[in-house]
């Protein structure tokens, strides 16, 4: 681990704790916030994500300008003079390559599906041209997200299969460069001498792996670690109370809750689904599991991005029309009475072991529904197996406990994933098998139009429609959290996509 003992503020080394061993330093194989958080320090994204992930051409963007020539043709102009840590210069070819590498089946990239609508990516001179099959306003965000980290084509060719492994540290364009990668203990960064932008106070950044949450907490409290983002949702109550450290939380834009297969047995009956919705005391669940750092969700998608796009008054007005299911056992019973199962029934809920928040949420559900006679048997299974069930849409979807972060700030991000009729099929994640032509139309319309306000408004309409049918029961928004040593903090509050941003620039150390 980290250097032990207390350290003075002028320490040129930043000790940051991570919770999971980084499987690779090549983003293709490391899709996750912790990875992106590190990548963002060593590598430019094509575009610089704003607080809400909106694409900008700021100092940390690899391109100086971009525009959608047509709804299916995007052109990006690469900045001159950006140097990799090996001294070579970033070219349009590199940028194109960085996108194509994920599209290449041989790579087996985890971000393949970001490009399912991409016809081609080409480079000419200092411009990169992306052609889409059909208009997709979601695309604009992709260059500002993890799929858009820029790599050196030559470097990749040179390192081949070893690229991203300890023996093949990629070269990057960011303020820092990889110097050590020990998958089971730590990752070390040092200054990239070719970096031209602002210099941050730390010469060296050490990401120490501390898998055990307790140990992490103690490490921060004891000052062995300067800070960490790795705070398990279920432990937040613990960390909030913990002394000699500073805890902060923010809205991660993610949601936690359940999906209900509208085509499966008792759940076909909308009254049953509503009964379940009523039976859950969202407020106290949020209090208990997140110490109210998360926000109670009455519907999907989370409002975070929509509020960013529309005036408050308009949103609130729209929300009035959205049906909600405030906690009430009586209402729940009443709903159930209307259904074909007035006495209730039994069902099983698959729980991915390893996901503690899911487990807790599942148990809460168990308790809630038991009050109205629906008894839920929890069925632990390895995470992947559970995920396979969702992908296969079999054996039985029934209830599923879900937790998702935002893939993009587009208002249709989750609706597209969860509500689309054609996605109620094997290989997709519409685990409620929700089908609604009207909703599909709104989604398509939103994606087609380049005006996000349209999407935002449609999202509110969709929420209204969907909430009647209750295919999903969101409980709370997943709080993002950080802990740093006393006196430290972040200038501006972190946004949902902090990990794709130069988060270091907000960190203030005394």
């Amino acid at each position: 681990g980290a250097a032990t003992g207390k350290k003075s503020a002028v320490d040129p080394t930043l000790d940051w704790a991570i919770a999971t061993n980084p499987p690779s330093l090549f983003s293709a194989f490391y899709f996750g916030t912790e990875g992106s958080m590190m990548f963002s320090l060593t590598t430019h994204h094509i575009l610089q994500p704003g607080v809400f992930g909106q694409p900008t051409t700021g100092p940390e963007a690899a391109v100086s300008s971009w525009k959608a020539v047509t709804p299916t043709k995007y052109v990006y102009r690469v900045k001159p003079g950006i140097r990799f840590s090996d001294g070579t210069t970033l070219t349009a070819a590199d940028v194109a390559f960085s996108l194509n590498v994920h599209r290449n089946k041989k790579t087996g990239s985890k971000m393949f599906s970001f490009f399912s609508n991409v016809r081609s990516v080409g480079a000419k001179g200092n411009t990169v041209t992306v052609l889409l099959f059909k208009p997709d306003s979601k695309w604009q965000f992709t260059p500002a997200a993890s799929p858009a980290l820029v790599y050196s084509k030559a470097d990749y060719a040179k390192k081949g299969a070893a690229f991203g492994t300890p023996s093949g540290l990629p070269v990057g364009t960011g303020p820092y460069k990889w110097v050590e990668y020990a998958p089971n203990s730590r990752v070390v960064l040092e200054r990239n001498t070719f970096w031209k932008g602002v210099k941050y106070p730390w010469d060296r950044i050490v990401f120490s792996l501390i898998p055990d949450a307790n140990a992490r907490l103690l490490a921060v409290q004891s000052g062995q670690i300067d800070g960490t983002f790795a705070i398990p949702g279920n432990d937040i109550p613990l960390w909030v109370k913990a002394p000699n450290m500073k805890f902060g939380s923010f809205n991660s834009g993610g949601w936690r809750g359940f999906s209900i297969d509208v085509e499966d047995g008792p759940f076909k009956d909308v009254n049953v689904r509503r009964a379940i919705a009523y039976s859950l005391d969202k407020a106290s669940i949020t209090e208990g599991l997140t110490s109210s750092r998360g926000q109670v969700l009455e519907g999907l998608p989370p409002l975070l991005f929509i509020r960013g796009l529309l005036p408050k008054a308009e949103v609130d007005a729209a929300l009035k029309k959205v049906p909600t299911y405030p906690y009430s056992v009586d209402k729940a019973k009443a709903e159930l009475a209307k259904s074909a199962y007035p006495k209730g029934f039994s069902t099983t809920l698959n729980v991915p072991n390893g996901c503690v928040p899911c487990l807790l949420l599942a148990q809460v559900l168990q308790q809630g529904t038991s009050k109205i006679g629906i008894n839920v048997k929890l069925n632990m299974m390895p995470g992947p197996q559970r995920f396979q069930v969702i992908l296969d849409h079999k054996p039985n979807l029934g209830l599923q406990v879900l937790g998702q972060g935002p893939d993009s700030p587009h208002p249709m991000d989750k609706p597209d994933l969860l509500y689309r009729s054609e996605r109620a099929a094997p290989g997709f994640e519409n685990s409620a098998n929700y089908k609604n032509a009207q909703v599909d139309k709104w989604i398509d319309e939103s994606l087609a139009s380049s005006d996000l306000k349209v999407a935002a408004r449609n999202a509110l309409k969709i929420m209204t429609v969907v909430n009647r049918d209750v295919p999903y029961i969101p409980i709370f928004s997943i709080p993002g959290a950080f802990a740093v040593k006393p006196g430290w903090g972040f200038k501006s509050s972190l946004g949902p996509f902090y990990y794709n941003q130069m988060w270091l620039s907000h960190l203030v150390a005394k």
């Binding site: 061993n21 203990s185 120490s208 390895p382 992947p384 995920f387 396979q388």
Partner: protein
């Protein structure tokens, strides 16, 4: 522990006997080593079928928490040859193994072999330290208890051993972590450490926990074996001939007591191996144990298969080593073995 080497003026006949014994030993070891092959093969089949019998599959693992699409699933099937029929897959895997290629971890994309070798030292040092503790402390204490048979010290030691024997390692670990790591602050609470000294510091507590668990066993076993010995005629006869109590205890009782204790060594090894899974989990150490657990719970099948093979080989080799050691300790073994 070796039986006395034949004295200088050994007659040719004796020399021949010794040579014969050595030849026999060599053949014996060779025979035992041959068993390795079919056993490991069995294990490989078992491991493969187990992992592939499990619902779900690598694909899910590969996709987990990344947005998905049918094309992507196709891509992965292609990359990991998941389309092929099982026998073919098995053949690909096992023939790879034969050439030392255990495949790549599905979770981390690192080669299984690298993962194992990079974490081996943790588990290995834990086990070696644990075994050392279990033997170097447990055996003498066992002897001591036997010598003080029925007295307070004996009772105390026996209690301790029963306690350690029936205490789950993870519970022991948690106690230790809380008391010595957190309360007393004597030991670091996480991680394997950097550099030799630091590493020793980091691994000390888990190793001790593991060792204590083993110690209860060795101690009890030694005590019982020693007590058995003290009832033996030859021990009394040795005393009757005026041999000092130390001599009698060490050369008569102890050396004979070693025989059952040695047989237990194999069990001790496998036991501690299992124990280290729990200890590593408690102390959050990047060893084979945690690797196995994460592979199992994370559905990292290539890793599980690789680990199972590795562990099987480990256990079999240890058992063989014990058998051989046994031959050196007990001259009668050769004859028994000759009888079957």
């Amino acid at each position: 522990m070796l039986p006395e080497s034949p004295p200088q003026e050994a007659t040719p006949a004796e020399g021949a006997a010794e040579r014969k014994r050595r030849r026999w030993l060599a053949r014996y070891v060779a025979r035992r080593l041959l068993i390795l092959i079919p056993l490991v093969f069995l294990v490989s089949v078992a491991a493969f079928t187990l992992t592939h019998a499990a619902p779900g599959g690598p694909i899910a693992t590969l996709l987990e928490n990344a947005p998905t699409s049918p094309e992507q699933i196709e891509a992965i099937k292609e990359k990991y040859k998941l389309g092929d029929p099982l026998p073919v897959q098995y053949w690909d895997w096992i023939s790879g193994v034969a050439q030392g290629d255990f495949g790549r971890s599905i979770l981390t994309n690192e080669t299984v072999l690298n993962e194992i070798t990079s974490r081996l030292w943790v588990t290995l040092s834990l086990n070696i330290a644990g075994i050392a503790l279990a033997i170097l402390v447990g055996v003498p204490l066992g002897v001591l208890a036997a010598l003080r048979r029925g007295r307070f010290l004996d009772r105390a030691l026996v209690t301790i051993s029963v306690f350690f024997m029936s205490t789950p390692v993870f519970a022991l670990g948690l106690f230790a972590l809380y008391l010595f790591g957190f309360r007393a602050g004597l030991f670091p609470l996480f991680g394997p450490g950097e550099g030799l000294v630091d590493r020793i510091h980091h691994l000390a507590l888990p190793a001790i926990v593991l060792g204590l668990a083993g110690m209860g066993f060795t101690m009890r076993l030694t005590r019982a074996a020693m007590l058995e010995q003290f009832d033996m005629d030859y021990v009394a006869f040795a005393r009757a001939r005026g041999l000092g109590s130390f001599h009698v205890t060490s050369r008569y009782a102890f050396r004979n007591a070693l025989i059952p204790v040695t047989t237990a060594a194999g069990l001790l090894f496998t036991g501690l191996l299992t124990g280290s899974v729990l200890v590593e989990t408690v102390f959050g150490l990047p060893g084979l144990g945690t690797l196995l657990v994460s592979a199992v719970t994370g559905g990292d099948f290539t890793m599980v298969q690789g680990l199972l093979l590795f562990i099987a080989a480990w256990i079999i080799l240890v058992n063989i080593a014990v058998d051989v050691l046994y031959v050196f300790i007990d001259p009668r073994v050769e004859f028994d073995k000759a009888r079957g």
